[in-house]
């Protein structure tokens, strides 16, 4: 299972990449593996939206399952990956790169301390086994 060490993680299998005050959000390698072939993704927030930690920012569907993607942090949506809807399978092949979903201007950096680092996320996954 690929768990890059430069990202933060949530219990619901989202990752957060932090560049300055911009957070980029997607779902982890474990999540895409659990869902298997992803056939549909819909980003349900728009650029300019004020969002809270825990809000749904996207839904992902595979043949067998559907999942909500929750925002790890609060802030303002500054960019969404509009191309993802046309190529949902990218979530399976490149979950940390081309399959980023939304970028948020972080309003409350304290929320980042709620998140897991790569070791903590890996431990969590071991417990799920």
């Amino acid at each position: 299972m690929n768990i890059p060490n430069n990202l933060k993680y949530t219990k619901n299998d989202e990752w957060l990449k932090i560049d300055g005050n911009i957070g980029t959000v997607g779902i982890t390698d474990y999540a895409q593996n659990q869902l298997s072939d992803i056939v549909f993704v819909e980003i349900v927030v728009s650029v300019g939206d004020q969002v809270k930690q825990g809000d749904t920012c996207a839904t992902v569907e595979s043949v067998k399952a559907a999942a909500e993607v929750y925002l790890p942090v609060s802030g303002k949506v500054v960019e969404i990956n509009a191309k993802l809807a046309d190529t949902p399978e990218v979530i399976n092949s490149d979950p940390y790169g081309a399959a980023w979903m939304v970028k948020v201007q972080i309003s409350n950096p304290d929320e980042i301390t709620d998140l897991l680092d790569d070791n903590a996320y890996q431990a969590l996954l071991k417990d799920k086994e």
Partner: protein, 449 residues
């Protein structure tokens, strides 16, 4: 009778399990409640049951005994024997839901046929594999619209000419939500056309629902209403009578976003109210919000064309509490019945049967409105149902008709206080000219009494 075990087999099986008797299987049941004495009639053999059921059926007066002019959401149409010949086949009737596509291609392709036929008939892009009936399909249209707007819009506009039982069902289904339901208040103007709903549409409107033909049989052009609905960013749902679509413009041409309806007229007998068939179709951009099963075409690992339930991630067994609907069983075999009916009639047969309904109904309306004391309530175009204002209460008139073996139309005073002494008459291809002439004669008699 349907339990094949012999005493010998039972003994063997108990031995393999390692218990002495059948009672040993139920020790976990609290003893004070175990083995209740059920007060049910003594069992009958198959022969006796056939006789008993026949006696019960004979206590009814059916289409065999009465000439019917009763519609109001369920209609006496011709049911071709081909339909029953197909749905009686055990391979269809006793099959399970097609979750294992490799051994369910019959059911799956039949549903695909149904989806194709309904989309062709209504002009919409996609149809699901059915809801329970027209009423629940329309209630699900409300759920779908609310889900589409993610709860940000909470107003639903209901035409007062949408079937009263459909509107009641919508209210029961949505009793929980903080919804505003407008348009069908008791003081609503029933004679006016669909444009009267336009002032009610606002930025909080999720869905506008109309019926086509409406509950009173009238056919309207919804183009203006659709434009106003879309201008406010809302959706338009149209509930249809499928036989009428053999003749009249499909709702897609007006700009409908969702089409629902009652499929009973498509080869399904009246059977005292069910099982019927809930039609549900929509535009392709809304397919993921649509509830109900959906069959898609694909290929198998041998390169053959094959069918499978698709977009199942929408459904209850995967989304659980997040599903748009809880629907699991649908109308299955009724879907097949309607697919056979529509295939059998085809382009020409469907046009023929709808024209027969139209012309016979208009003949009846002309004859009745010529009688003293009776008048046509509305001058709007209609399909096969129309409302007449009568000189006496409808219940009185219908009692008289019944004495002569005629089932009169629906008494509208039951649902519309403003329409006392108004009767909703339905005419189908099953009514002969003689039937209609007798009706007219009887109406004349009862007016003169």
């Amino acid at each position: 009778m349907f339990i094949p075990h012999t005493d010998h087999e039972q003994k063997e099986m108990l031995g393999v399990i390692g218990i002495k008797s059948l009672e040993d299987l139920f020790q976990v049941v609290p003893p004070q409640h175990r083995y209740p004495q059920l007060d049910l009639p003594e069992p009958l053999t198959e022969m006796e049951v056939m006789e008993e059921m026949q006696n019960i059926a004979w206590a009814n007066e059916s289409n065999q005994d009465l000439v019917s002019f009763l519609g109001a959401g369920a209609y006496h149409h011709y049911t071709p024997p081909v339909v029953d010949a197909i749905i009686r086949r055990g391979e269809f009737a006793t099959a399970y839901t097609p979750y294992q596509p490799e051994i369910s291609q019959g059911t799956l392709q039949a549903i695909f046929d149904y989806q194709s036929l309904i989309t062709s008939l209504t002009g919409m892009d996609v149809s699901n594999a059915s809801h329970y009936d027209g009423a629940t399909a329309t209630a699900e249209a409300v759920s779908m619209a609310l889900a589409h707007f993610r709860g940000k819009r909470s107003k639903i506009i209901l035409s007062p000419a949408l079937h009263p039982q459909y509107r009641q069902t919508i209210r029961t289904y949505n009793g929980g939500a903080d919804l505003i339901l407008a348009g069908d208040e008791p003081e609503a103007n029933l004679l006016a056309g669909p444009e009267t709903l336009i002032p009610l549409i606002d930025q909080n409107t999720a869905l506008v629902i109309v019926q086509y033909p409406d509950f009173f049989g009238r056919v309207s052009d919804f183009t203006a209403l659709a434009e106003a609905t879309h201008a406010a960013g809302a959706l338009l749902a149209v509930s249809i009578y499928p036989i009428a679509l053999g003749l009249f413009k499909p709702p897609a041409e007006f700009g409908a976003d969702i089409v629902t309806g009652e499929g009973q007229p498509l080869g399904i007998p009246l059977s005292f109210g069910g099982p019927y068939l809930g039609i549900f179709a929509t535009k392709k951009e809304y397919v993921r919000k649509m509830a109900g099963r959906l069959v898609g075409e694909t290929i198998d690992n041998r390169g053959q064309r094959a069918y499978v339930l698709t977009l199942t991630a929408r459904e209850q067994h995967i989304r659980r509490e997040k599903a748009t609907s809880n629907i699991c069983s649908n109308q299955g075999l009724m879907t097949l019945a309607s697919a056979v009916y529509l295939s059998l009639l085809g382009k020409q047969g469907l046009r023929q049967v709808s024209e027969l309904c139209y012309h016979k109904a208009h003949y009846a309306a002309d004859q009745i409105s010529d009688l003293d004391g009776f008048s046509l309530w509305s001058q709007a175009p209609f399909f096969n149902e129309f409302v007449i204002q009568c000189p006496k209460p409808v219940s009185e008139i219908n009692s008289h008709l019944l004495e002569y073996g005629v089932l009169g139309g629906y008494d509208l005073s039951q649902d519309y206080p403003a329409l006392s002494n108004h009767m909703l008459i339905a005419v189908t291809e099953m009514n002969t000219r003689e039937d209609i002439d007798i009706l007219v004669q009887l109406l004349e008699e009862v007016a003169n009494e």
